[in-house]
Symmetry: D3
């Protein structure tokens, strides 16, 4: 009766620790429960996000990486990659694009999840973080068409890494979702994963807000809680079945 | 995990035999399976819809009423009321409004389902039937506020019929649904009910078209097939629990 | 510094007692303070709106007319006309159009205020009252072009009443206003006028709701409270200065 | 290189003399030049539109009918039918619908041109005339599905008139056109036809305004002047080729 | 009766001399009259904007800076900072972001005014200047979240400059304003300030154009002239009252 | 009867070989037939687009440049400029902007055709290529205002190249076109030009897809096939007649 689809693998690319938990950890939990292979790629380690007297940025980064690894494990993800670009100053450079192409080609995911690079304005009391825009731009540009082009960043072949075309891109975001994932059975995991970012909670209980947002997206769809995505299909279902992303040079 | 709501009762008001089957019979089936009390009200008996040499309109009406009763039974509905206004010439008069108020007050439904009176244009190869607009206007005007006003059509009290305020209106239609009902388990009943209108099929197999439409509405919501509605809440959940629609004069 | 315009005269046409108070009494108050001549025309006397054991509709109508007259006086209006069409069953007939043409031609207003006949849906917990749609349709159709056509309803000439073209129509409503009237100095009068409809209050204090709505429309315009209108100009400012609405046959 | 389509026949249904000239006479001219059979149906004779001391409405109607016939001839149309419903008080009654069904069934047009019944607001200095809305509603309701239903208004068979399903409806109007007809070669005929309504010109030269409007619609389409339509296809091209609108009972 | 708000301080960040005068100098004038502390930050000195035989860019920059200082004084602003990035080649680099963070942290404004980085298309005869997009991007990225993060650009502490979170951002621009400031009493100052940019006037009288634009935005709001902004609140009113933007590390 | 405009000259700026053929070669063909002087500027040579064992990128670039020159000749264009920035890594740098300014100032075009830098999302199975966004941004920023500013990139004067203000920008793209060019007579040339990119065809026949797209844009405009553009006028027709783009320092 339901038509729920679990990909065989997915890579999620974001700017900071906790970005995944806010946007799509409920979906990730369903996918890991369904047996999917998942990797997280964090462009920065969020070292700007802890500002305590006497703590160095390096120490802050270490804490946040550890919290992110715990958050990942809560939803069944063990593969967490940190690119360690500077937090608060992330730029969508060709270098970052190449680093992301490397991870995509290595992991060979069916799905790439990333943010929406076009979003600047986000309601009347928030502006989209410039790092989010940079990570989203770099992730999207790495995914299409770069990762799937044998003749681009071909020097990665010397690392034994070859072109890979993902099946689909899932874009998290506040606007116009066309796919809603029912996270009613995994919302507690999502909240637990968010709570693993202890340095960011400071007495704030994320449960009511996360449930309110997720209920809002679930509304009218026979779901209690949902996450929403814009989906772009880069390789047709048919072709994906044959190639699983591999590209012959 | 799912948040599906079955009302205790619902009345569905349309212009013609088969209008319910096209728009909401899958939802009706789920509701009757959940124990809901349902009534159908048909403003006309669709006598224009069979044009055969030598057949009178009265005979055509009889055939179509019988088909509608069968279609109703397929989804578990036994209560089918025919107002017998003229097919093809339905007008949203005060008289029709009063007839509908009578049925609503008698049946005391939690939900009224009707069409959208504002729709004229419907794609580039269909125009909304004027009878549909008339039935939708009359149904909506009967539902709010007329049915719930003790001092309007108060002469019905002599029939032992008193004011009733329904909980919600569900508006079927092509535009901007905000509630999607998963009909994956009842779509076969919906199609069977539609097929009961034998005089309208003329060799046409409704299955592919109905499934295409229902799949389209289900898209991105973890449903295989869906029907969509615009919902307006006339009495708050709290008040409905207390009053069940009764109005003290 | 401000550019506030007070018309010399205005007629306000609505379905029921209290419709003016909800929609535009704050504007009316500013205009009467500025010396404008104002008339209210009520298509029905709202007799359905009081449902008390033992009270006849005629008695209810009397009470509501009296309340409306008091409400009018609070904002400086003495001229209140009741057409006494049936409440809850108002229809936009040619007869009603003619009655409204008579009042417009007699009063010779610069402005006609009425509702928006196209509004059916109004949020997820209200449906526009069919009487409101009927009154708005009849008022608009009476205003343009009927009132200004010497050869239409020309039999009114025998009553000494001649064609009149109003300068502008102000349409009250929930959608897309293009004119906002600052009612910060008259909102207390508006609320007092609304309270004059004692039979409708039943312990409800309208102040918070009215202020919330009016503050919402005032937002971002250096106003504390506002009412909004869609304005249609039927006679140019230049021509109005010359004709004041008179039409030569 | 161009893809211009001339129907074999068309009926144009409007409220008043000169409505056709304002909306679609340039298209009519191209069609008559291409050999199309055309009929005009006017619901009223526009008798309110001349208000002169001592002239009766009957006289005014006669003048306007004559002007309309001249305007028709200028674009090659000889068949002009007047239904003589009252100008300024046109209502979309079942009676009017039936009269229009009669004309459609008699003339058997490929195309019906009419107005858009949903338009009330039309910029900030015009309101759509209630007669236009009434004529458009009646015309649309007569065209679909009434004209093509053998069992509706079947009493017309006694006049030797049988059901006919037109191929397409062309809706004139200010909004969202999806078909643009190049009237660069016929705009002078359109203007001449409009000028034939001498009683309405009163020294006004329609040329600049008509050309401005038509140029505006032509913009960006390699046309100098255009008229715009919304098109609804009621019978597929294939079926039309076979049936030419005839319906077997 | 009016609800006008004067912040205690504001910093305005733009690309070129005269950008402030075109977009928000009328608002600035009202704020300085109300006692607000204001600073202007210009990313470039507009040296490309004077192209005269024999004049060096350095000389052009000097002239334009002087004109900008005069324009500032006309509306009561003495604090004008020039960052002297290259005109016509402005890029939203991390370096520019850091320079802007320095100025915001030093000045500790309640409000930051800047442009909208998302605007490329601006009508059919203008394209938004790339410097405007760059300045707007850098200003927005500096304001949120950079300026308020103690751990980002923390090396500025050695200059005695600490993290500061502004209360609100006001975004000038052509689209969707949600705040309108009445500049009827200051429009003459705005025009005078614009005229101070003598090198840009070349016989052009800015008065009619500026008044036309400002009247257009004032329309329907009881204002004669207005400027429009999109407002984003970064720190709630309550928190602002307590912190005035200071951030404890 | 038609209002088709052929510019005296146009420069088309894109990222890769075959971008022009997909977007605007039909329009180019009409313009060269009308005598227009045309130049193509390609930011990269598309060397990533051929991935064959043993072929170097330099060889791939050579092949694609040759294919592009052939494609150009098919529609009558001999002037093809390759900037040879790296394919797949194009960035909208100031250096690229300067290279484009050089070409624009040298060629002195009436029209610049380029892409739309704001487009990221393009349906549910394509994402706009990052090189397309970069080329469009650089082209637009080079065109306005850079190319027309004597004091920017003034060092180009040493190459005998002076400021030039183009008349109009034509933006190709999937959204909101306001100009449609009839390519019914040149669509075969467009397809032939596309086929000249042999290395990209790999057995794919572009004809059906190209015709489908072009027919879709032609719909309702008396054209069989069309290309669509958003047009921005930078220099008024009057001024262009006088200056032909030259700017006096």
């Amino acid at each position: 009766m339901n038509s729920f689809y679990t990909p065989e693998s997915a890579i999620i690319i974001v700017a900071h620790p906790d970005d995944i938990e806010f946007s799509c950890a409920g979906t990730v939990a369903r996918w890991t429960q369904g047996g999917a292979r998942i990797a997280y790629v964090l462009c920065t380690s969020g070292e700007v996000g802890i500002a305590e007297k006497g703590m160095t940025k390096a120490q802050a980064a270490e804490i946040r990486e550890e919290e992110q690894r715990e958050a990942a494990q809560i939803v069944g993800v063990n593969n967490v990659i940190f690119l360690r670009d500077p937090d608060g100053m992330l730029q969508a450079t060709i270098e970052l694009r190449k680093k992301l192409v490397r991870e995509i080609r290595k992991f060979k995911p069916e799905i790439v999840i990333c943010g929406d690079p076009t979003i600047v304005w986000a309601g009347d009391d928030y502006i989209n973080h410039p790092d989010h825009r940079a990570a989203a731009t770099a992730a999207l540009d790495a995914t299409f068409p770069a990762a799937g082009q044998p003749n681009l960043f071909e020097e990665l072949e010397s690392e034994g890494i070859f072109a890979h075309k993902p099946h689909k891109v899932y874009v998290t975001g506040w606007n116009e979702s066309d796919l809603f994932v029912n996270i009613s059975t995994t919302i507690e995991l999502k909240i637990a994963a968010l709570r693993a970012h202890k340095s960011q909670m400071k007495g704030w209980d994320p449960e009511p807000r996360i449930k309110e947002w997720a209920a809002d997206r679930a509304k009218g769809k026979e779901m209690e809680f949902a996450e929403g995505f814009r989906v772009v299909t880069l390789v047709s279902d048919e072709d994906w079945e044959k190639t699983k992303g591999s590209v012959l040079a």
